[in-house]
Amino acid sequence: MNVQEYIESGILEEYALGVLNEVERAEVERIAREHPEIGRELDSIVRSLDAYAEAHAITPPAEMRDRVLQGWQQAIRETEKPEPSAVSASNGTSATTPPQMVAVTSAPAAAVPSPSADGAVVRQMPAQESNSGRTRWLIAASVALLVLSALGNFLLYNRLKETEANLEVAQTEQSRYAATQKAALNERDEQLRVLRNEAFRAVELKGTPKSPNALARVYYNQQTKAVYVDVRNLPAPPAGKQYQLWALDNGKPVDAGVLATATAAGDSIQQMKDIASAQAFAMTVEDEGGVASPTLSTMTVIGNL
């Protein structure tokens, strides 16, 4: 075999990292014994990784020592207990079996009044033995089945618990989703109510020469004075600026409020300030929060009723 090729195959590293199965491990160990060069390489790899592990050492908190040692002792006591109890259990069964066997022996002995006594005993012995052997086997088998069934129950129970937990998570998530959807739906209904209401007049606000592609729509209810704005396309305002809507009443601008970011982006319809009377609407770009009178040079859209 090619020693160098074997070393470079990476299998020694995998051995040291503990990712090989039993058969592969045994094979590596055999080859390392047969080829001293591989053995040395393997040893060096193992030591390197041990040193790397040791470099991560953290002295555990002092109070942990007693806890861990006591916990360990308790754990090995608990695991050792079943063994003696198993032994005593099998002692128990063998203690109860002999009387039965006595009964069995006594019956044929009584049925056959003293034949050639030796032969009877000799013949009966193997029968008894196989009988008690079968009993023992049956007990062992039923204990094994019981253990298996208990294990199966335990696993199924765990899986059930897990499924229940997952279901609960899914249900919570679903009801949260439903709530969000309902809220969104309510909002849309409200908007639809505005758009369908005949009392609302739609006013197209068209882009000024400064931004000819800009387009927005105002819904104005002259009876209730309500104003809604629906943006189709507006250039994003510069940082620190917001769009502000103005109503023009006899040429005089009246503040109708500033547009939220989502509104300006066209994501939703926004209700603005009530306007008593207007013949036109316009939007300008103003400092965040709005201003008292419009900056005409930043007028983006305008439209007449």
């Binding site: 592990a53 470099a55 953290i58 360990w72």
Partner: protein, 185 residues
Amino acid sequence: MSVPTPESAALETEVLLVQRLRDRDEGAMTIFYDKYSAALYGVIMRIVKKEEIAEDVLQEAMVKIWHSFPSYDAEKGRLFTWVMNVCRNLAIDKIRSRQYRVGSRTQPIEESAALRQAAEPSFRPEHIGLQEMTNQLNPEQRQIVDLLYFGGFTQSEVAEELNLPLGTVKTRARAAIKVLSKLIR
């Protein structure tokens, strides 16, 4: 363990400890704890990240070591290597178990090994420090060693995870281990 005392003395105490463990001497486990807990706890912590879980894993590991001690073969390697593998495997099983992953299901667990590279603040000064070791490794080498050693990945799994050819992973792993072995010589 071998740095502060001469190699032979360390070996002698290890041989004695192994003998006592083989004789089912429960007192030996206290000595075992004092001798190995820092190294084992450090690696377990590196894998599971949480102190209370690390403590549980250490205790479980000690129970396992006690019960499966008859299968330890001193001919095949040092006690330290064997117990470290027991701890590492238990810790890796722990982080791969479903319970542990609930809540972080969307993150691949590899992330824990690959990204959280923060060095533990306390390592014992009498040993070759973590800093010193990792300074010698380049980031790619360290990532691979950590995925392999702390993540329990095979080289093929690492190759898939990092989207590298298997050959590259093998070369880097070998190079990294070579660097480490030069340091301890």
